[in-house]
């Protein structure tokens, strides 16, 4: 087992009339245990140069292993750019299918997705990763200018 710690700090002195100073640390453990996650995709770096939608993180067997679905897997994604105008849009579902995916309607299995949100330059996210069928993580850049994304999956 390994010990992987993630700490988030959210701070603001003027979002509300009283300061916000939130700090939370989690140790990534296997589902239902105190044993640490021990597998990872490694830190993946991809450069996208079109506005084409891609499956950034796909479920099932991968070169780095096979994440077990419905466990305590965690996914980190960062838009490494610095632009406050360009972004990547993150969705969950499946970007492939015929007919074309029906956005925001996941009920049609295998050909649809639901948008989580945007990561502008420098922004990151850390979410659990379910990894079940048709639950890929999908990315669409807002620009055809080079956009570099880093991501890392921690799994069991």
């Amino acid at each position: 087992m390994a010990t992987i710690n993630a700490t988030i700090n959210i701070n603001s002195t003027d979002l509300t009339s009283n300061p916000i100073a939130l700090s939370k640390t989690m140790t990534m453990t296997k589902a239902g245990t105190r044993t640490g996650l021990e597998f990872t995709s490694g830190l993946v770096r991809r450069k996208l140069t079109s506005q084409t939608t891609i499956d950034l993180v796909t479920v099932g067997a991968q070169m780095y292993g096979t994440p077990t679905a419905s466990k305590a897997n965690k996914l980190y994604v960062k838009n490494t750019g610095s632009s406050t105008a360009d972004y990547i849009e993150i969705a969950i579902g499946d970007s492939t299918g015929d007919p074309a995916p029906g956005e925001e309607l996941l009920a049609t299995a295998g050909a649809s997705f639901i948008t989580l949100g945007r990561l502008y330059g420098g922004e990151w996210m850390l979410i659990p990763f379910e990894g079940t069928t048709d639950n890929d993580i999908i990315v669409t850049p807002s620009t055809s200018e080079a956009t570099t994304i880093e991501w890392m999956l921690f799994f069991e």
């Binding site: 010990t3 916000i20 939370k24 239902g32 639901i114 948008t115 949100g117 990763f129 379910e130």
Partner: protein, 153 residues
């Protein structure tokens, strides 16, 4: 405008032969600008005593919110490692947060009926959950109950 920063530290000394250390800090800006997000739900602390799915934030009703750059924080404060919450958006399961886990994710609700974030506790024996959205959404407040029309009214 407000200035809200978020920082992530990802560290491990034994996941690899070499140490892992990732550090990121960003500022919560409105979409496409350097103007800070200026609204928040506040940090809610909820004691859930049912396995019934619930929406931690009101349904987002305004179509303009689809292009916003909101952020969401959710944490499972349970100390029992077997307890988890399942976090979903619409019909899509994002994943499970076990005891002590948190998530930080962007939130641009594209469809008022299928972009709602949902939480489902795994047990009904009581579990503390925290959540907060930082955003600039329009019209996310619930309808006043006085404006609803009921069949027996």
């Amino acid at each position: 405008m407000a200035t809200t920063t978020n920082t992530l530290l990802l560290e491990s000394t034994d996941l690899f032969d070499d140490s892992l250390s990732i550090s990121n800090t960003s500022t919560c800006y409105k979409a496409g600008t350097t103007t800070g997000l200026d609204q928040t739900t506040g940090l809610t602390r909820l004691y859930a005593t049912s396995v019934t799915q619930f929406d931690p934030f009101p349904a987002v009703k305004d179509a303009t919110n689809r292009v916003k750059n909101g952020k969401v924080y959710i944490a499972n404060l349970s100390e029992d490692e077997t307890e988890f919450i399942t976090v979903s958006i619409g019909d899509a399961v994002i994943g499970k947060l076990y005891a002590g886990d948190f998530l930080w994710m962007p939130y641009s609700p594209k469809a008022s009926l299928s972009s709602d974030i949902e939480i489902t506790p795994s047990v009904a024996t009581g579990m503390f959950i925290e959540f907060m959205a930082i955003h600039d959404f329009a019209n996310i407040y619930p309808d006043s109950i006085d404006t609803r029309v009921y069949p027996d009214a």
